[in-house]
Symmetry: C2
């Protein structure tokens, strides 16, 4: 069973718990992330935030996302060469990105359990618990590749 993400209030409390301040921009970013289902790029987050608070600048978004990552509330990963995507910790555990159509689906972390054990045993390497990003070809693109071949 997948762990549920924290609520906006819980996250804001976490922020207050450190010596950081809860600002309008932070409130809005957190709200956007909590309402998002799945990953968003910084640009998408910025757009969503600005639709609510147009004065919030991209640099502030990046700074807030960085702070939320320090608090382990958010993780980000790089899918291919595009912009990084961010999402709440615990809400999602793996990304499958299609190199052909660039689509990304999110999957449960349980798919990596065996691999994790293997890598741990063989290399002493601990897979990231929050985001495992994989690239390949999605079902649809494999299909169309076959068809067009």
């Amino acid at each position: 069973m997948v762990e549920t993400s924290a609520s906006a209030d819980e996250i804001l409390s976490t922020i207050r718990g450190t010596n950081h301040r809860v600002t309008l921009a932070k409130r809005t970013v957190v709200e956007v992330l909590v309402n998002a289902n799945g990953h968003m790029t910084a640009e998408e987050i910025t757009s969503a935030v600005q639709s609510l608070r147009p004065e919030v600048s991209p640099s502030t978004i990046y700074r807030i996302l960085e702070e939320l990552e320090d608090l382990d509330v958010v993780v980000h990963s790089h899918l291919g060469q595009a912009a990084a995507v961010y999402h709440l910790t615990g809400s999602v555990h793996g990304h499958l990105t299609c190199e052909e159509c660039k689509s990304t689906v999110e999957i449960s972390g349980t798919h990596f359990d065996a691999l994790n054990r293997d890598l741990q045993k063989t290399y002493g390497f601990q897979l990231d618990r929050h985001h495992v990003a994989l690239s390949g070809t999605c079902a649809a693109c494999q299909q169309s590749r076959r068809t067009s071949a």
Copy 2:
């Protein structure tokens, strides 16, 4: 057993086989890649090439790498947020990148066989055959984390 990479001559023949030309810059890039054991960033490749042919510019390196990717001689992947790394097709199959110390080790593709079957069966997703990049924590950093804790 891991498939062996093509030799420099084979690669240059492949280039000639298309309607592309074999230039000094291409010869040098191919030479560098063949002599490299493992992945290199574009910058590392550029440095290595320029140590042999100082006049070769970074943009040329990128153009050549792109051409080699089109020919399926080279693949590149993005490990974390750093620059992309390139290597010959078939020489390597997986990267484990430590998020803490940024070190990367290369592992055999056989580690992904089970995962591949699982993803194929569950999502119809075909893992990339040439490069699977994973991030996490290496043995050394797990160790020092424990020690300093």
